[in-house]
C-alpha cells in the first residue's frame, strides 16, 4: 500500500536517511522505532509531506506522493503535543478537516458527534482543549485525524506526554481503535516497549538506516544485530568467535569465558572463524547456587554484583570471571524458590542450548 523506495535525505553533511526501503501493507500497525536522530521522524514527515526526499520516491497505492502537498495527501498526522487548535472548541477542532474538505454543515455536525462517541467523549464538544486532560486531548486529536477517513494515520510519539498508567491505557485503546477502523497506522517511537506492545511489524532504525523489519516477537527473539538485540529489551551481549559449526548448532569461544554450544538459525551466516555476539535475554539466563547438570548448555561461575528488586521479578547482575556483568531475571512467583541471592553471593550462571541467539559482526 505504502512504498518507500530508496529514500535519502541529507541536511548539510548529516545524512538523516540513507536509501531507505520499506513496504507497508494496508491495515497494518507499523512502527518506526529507533533512538533519537535515527531518521524516523524525518521519514514520517516525508510521508506526511512536510519534508521532501533528496532521492527516492514515496508511493501510495502505486502512485507517487512526492508532488502532492501535505494538505492534499489522504493521510493525517497525530502530533507529539496533539496540536489541537486552542481557539476552537473540541467540536470545531474535529470539524476542521471536514470543513476544509468542503462538507455540508449538517453532515459535519453528524460526523463530529459520531467521532466524539467513537472516542467516548460525547459531551466534550463544547469544551475548549485547555479544559481537557492529557488523555482526553489525545483522544480528540485521534478523533480529528480519523473523522474524514484518511488512508493512513501517522502518529509521532503520541503517548510521550502521558504518564505511565495512562500511556498503557492509551496503548490498549490504540490497538482496539486500529482494529476497528482498519486504517493503516504508522507509528513513530523511541520506546521499544511501546513498539512491541502495539505493532504488527516494527522497523528498527539507526543512523538513517533500517536495521531490521520484523514482527515484535521475532525482533525480540531473533535480532539480526547487536544493535537490535541491545535496543529491544534488555540483553546480555557476549562477544566471541565461532569455532565450529554443526547442523543446527555452533560452538563459540566466548571472550575470556570459554566454549559454549548454541542453537543457530538457518541462513544466519554463521561461519567458522567469524566474530560474533551471543545475545542472551536475562529471563533466559538462570542463576543458582549449585551446579545443575542437565539441560543447560553453558555454566559459568560468578558473583552477585548488584540486584534490583522490581516486585514481580528481581534482576541480578552477576559478575563473571572475565569481569563482564551478566543480567539474569528471576520471577519472584517461581514455585519452590529456595531463596533470594544476596550481593556478594557466589552463583552459577547457566542457560539452555537454545536460549541464546547468535548474531554475526
Amino acid at each position: 500500500m505504502l512504498e518507500i523506495k530508496d529514500v535519502s535525505r541529507r541536511f548539510d553533511s548529516f545524512v538523516a536517511l540513507d536509501r531507505v526501503n520499506l513496504t507497508i501493507a494496508a491495515g497494518e500497525f507499523f512502527t518506526l522505532l529507533g533512538p533519537s536522530g535515527c531518521g524516523k521522524t524525518t521519514l514520517l514527515r516525508m510521508i506526511a509531506g512536510f519534508d521532501q526526499p533528496d532521492d527516492g520516491d514515496i508511493l501510495l497505492d502505486g502512485r507517487s506522493l512526492i508532488a502532492t502537498p501535505p494538505e492534499q495527501r489522504p493521510l493525517h498526522t497525530i502530533f507529539q503535543n496533539y496540536a489541537l487548535f486552542p481557539h476552537m472548541t473540541v467540536a470545531e477542532n474535529i470539524a476542521f478537516p471536514l470543513r476544509m474538505a468542503g462538507c455540508a454543515r449538517e453532515e459535519i455536525a453528524g460526523r463530529v458527534a459520531r467521532a466524539l462517541e467513537d472516542v467516548r467523549l460525547p459531551d466534550k464538544g463544547r469544551h475548549y482543549p485547555d479544559a481537557l486532560s492529557g488523555g482526553q486531548k489525545q483522544r480528540i486529536a485521534i478523533a480529528r485525524a480519523l473523522v474524514n477517513r484518511p488512508r493512513l494515520l501517522l502518529l509521532d510519539e503520541p503517548l510521550s506526554a502521558l504518564d505511565a498508567k495512562l500511556r498503557e491505557q492509551m496503548q490498549l485503546e490504540l490497538i482496539t481503535l486500529q482494529k476497528e477502523v482498519g486504517i493503516t497506522f504508522i507509528y513513530v517511537t523511541h520506546d521499544q516497549g511501546e513498539a512491541l506492545a502495539l505493532s504488527h511489524r516494527i522497523a528498527v532504525m539507526n543512523g538513517g538506516h533500517i536495521v531490521q523489519v520484523d514482527e515484535p516477537s521475532r525482533l525480540y527473539g531473533f535480532p539480526n544485530s547487536r544493535f537490535v538485540a541491545d535496543f529491544i529489551g534488555h540483553c546480555n551481549l557476549l562477544g566471541g568467535v565461532v569455532t565450529a559449526v554443526q547442523t543446527g548448532d555452533a560452538t563459540v569461544e566466548l571472550d575470556g569465558l570459554g566454549t559454549v554450544q548454541t542453537v543457530i538459525q538457518p541462513a544466519a551466516g554463521v561461519a567458522v572463524g567469524r566474530r560474533c555476539t551471543l545475545t542472551l535475554r536475562p529471563e533466559k539466563t538462570h542463576i543458582s547456587t549449585t551446579l545443575t547438570p542437565g539441560e543447560e548448555a553453558a555454566h559459568f561461575r560468578g558473583v552477585v554484583h548488584d540486584m534490583l528488586y522490581l516486585g514481580d521479578v528481581t534482576v541480578y547482575k552477576v559478575e563473571l570471571a572475565n569481569g563482564m556483568i551478566v543480567e539474569a531475571l528471576l520471577a519472584n512467583s517461581a514455585p519452590g524458590r529456595a531463596r533470594f541471592f544476596e550481593v556478594g553471593d557466589a552463583v552459577e550462571v547457566a542457560w539452555r542450548l537454545d536460549a541464546g541467539h547468535l548474531v554475526m559482526e
Binding site: 506526511a48 512536510f50 502537498p69 501535505p70 494538505e71 492534499q72 493525517h76 498526522t77 502530533f79 507529539q80 503535543n81 496540536a83 489541537l84 487548535f85 486552542p86 481557539h87 476542521f96 478537516p97 476544509m100 474538505a101 475548549y128 485547555d130 480529528r144 485525524a145 474524514n148
Partner: protein, 296 residues
C-alpha cells in the same frame, strides 16, 4: 496560602502606587478643576471664599454646560476618535504583514529586524515630524512624485503639506512600532505545530492563515490597537505641525484651553471626557484580549 496572598499584594504594590500617583491623583485633580472658575490671568480661581467668618464654596457646572452648548466639541471628539480608529486600522494593515514576516524569519534575523522597527525611537519625536515636513513640502520628493503621477492622468497638482492626509500618514508612521511589537510577540510564540496540523488536515496556506494564525493573533491586535489608539487620541503636535485648519484634533483644543485661552477649567472638562473615552477603550480592549488569551 495567606502568606502567598500577602506576598502577591506586596508585589503589586509598586504598580498600584504608580497608577495611584500618576493616574488616579492627577485625574482627581483635573476632575476637581473642571468644577472651578478660571483665574483672572489664567490658572484657577480659589474654590472657596472665607469672608467675614463665613465660608462659601465657589464651584460651578458652567464648564460642563459649555461642553454641550456647542456641538463643535462633540464633533471634534468624534473626529479624533475617527482619526485614532483609522490610524489603528492602517497600523494593523501595515504592521501585520511586517510582524508576520519578522516572526517567520530565522531567530538571528528576527532580532535585527526588530531593532530596525524600534530604531526610529532613538531619534527625537519632533525631529522625525520635521523630517516629514520636508518630505511633504511642495518641493519634497513625495509631493513631486505624487504630482508627477497625477500629471500623467491630467490631474492637477496637489499639496500634501498641511492636510489631513499628512496628519494621518505621520500618525501611522509614528505609531506603527506600537502595533508591530505586540503583534510580533504574539505571532512569534504561536506554535508552528498548529500550522503543520492545519496543513495536514487539509488547509491551504490562505486557510491556515485565516483559521489559525489570524484568530490566535487577535489578542496581539487588541493590545497593539490600544497602544496606538490612545496616544493618537491625545496627539496634538502632529496636527499642529502638519495639519491644516480642518485637521485639528480634540487634543489641540485642550492644549489651546490650557495655553492660549488660559481656561484651565474648560480644558479640564475636555481632558476628563478624553480620559474616560480612553479608559473605556482600554477596558474593552483588555476584555477582548483576555478572552483571546483564555483560549489561546
Amino acid at each position: 496560602m495567606r502568606r502567598k496572598t500577602w506576598r502577591r499584594q506586596l508585589l503589586t504594590l509598586p504598580p498600584t502606587g504608580y497608577l495611584l500617583l500618576f493616574f488616579a491623583v492627577p485625574s482627581i485633580i483635573m476632575l476637581f478643576a473642571s468644577f472651578r472658575y478660571a483665574g483672572e490671568y489664567g490658572g484657577l480661581a480659589p474654590w472657596y471664599y472665607y469672608e467675614a467668618g463665613e465660608f462659601s464654596l465657589d464651584l460651578t457646572l458652567e464648564n460642563w454646560q459649555r461642553l454641550f452648548e456647542s456641538e463643535i466639541y462633540l464633533l471634534l471628539f468624534l473626529k479624533s476618535i475617527g482619526y485614532a480608529l483609522l490610524t489603528s486600522l492602517l497600523c494593523i494593515l501595515l504592521g501585520y504583514p511586517l510582524a508576520l514576516m519578522i516572526a517567520r524569519r530565522p531567530k538571528r534575523q528576527r532580532d535585527l529586524l526588530l531593532l530596525l522597527v524600534i530604531l526610529p525611537f532613538w531619534s527625537n519625536f519632533l525631529v522625525r515630524i520635521y523630517a516629514w515636513m520636508i518630505i511633504f513640502s511642495p518641493a519634497g520628493a513625495l509631493t513631486q512624485m505624487v504630482n508627477g503621477l497625477l500629471g500623467l492622468f491630467g490631474l492637477g497638482p496637489v499639496t500634501l503639506m498641511y492636510s489631513t492626509t499628512a496628519v494621518i500618514v505621520t500618525l501611522v508612521y509614528v505609531h506603527l512600532p506600537f502595533m508591530v511589537l505586540p503583534l510580533y510577540a504574539n505571532l512569534e510564540k504561536q506554535s508552528p505545530a498548529l500550522l503543520d496540523a492545519a496543513q495536514d488536515l487539509g488547509a491551504n496556506s490562505w486557510r491556515r492563515f485565516w483559521h489559525v494564525t489570524w484568530p490566535l493573533s487577535l489578542p496581539g491586535i487588541y493590545a497593539g490597537s490600544i497602544l496606538v489608539f490612545i496616544p493618537v487620541l491625545g496627539m496634538f503636535a502632529i496636527p499642529d505641525l502638519l495639519g491644516g485648519t480642518d485637521s485639528i484634533m480634540i487634543a489641540n483644543v485642550i492644549k489651546q484651553q490650557f495655553v492660549e485661552s488660559r481656561d484651565w477649567p474648560f480644558g479640564s472638562v475636555l481632558s476628563m471626557v478624553m480620559t474616560v473615552a480612553a479608559v473605556l477603550v482600554v477596558l474593552l480592549g483588555a476584555r477582548l484580549a483576555r478572552q483571546g488569551v483564555a483560549r489561546g
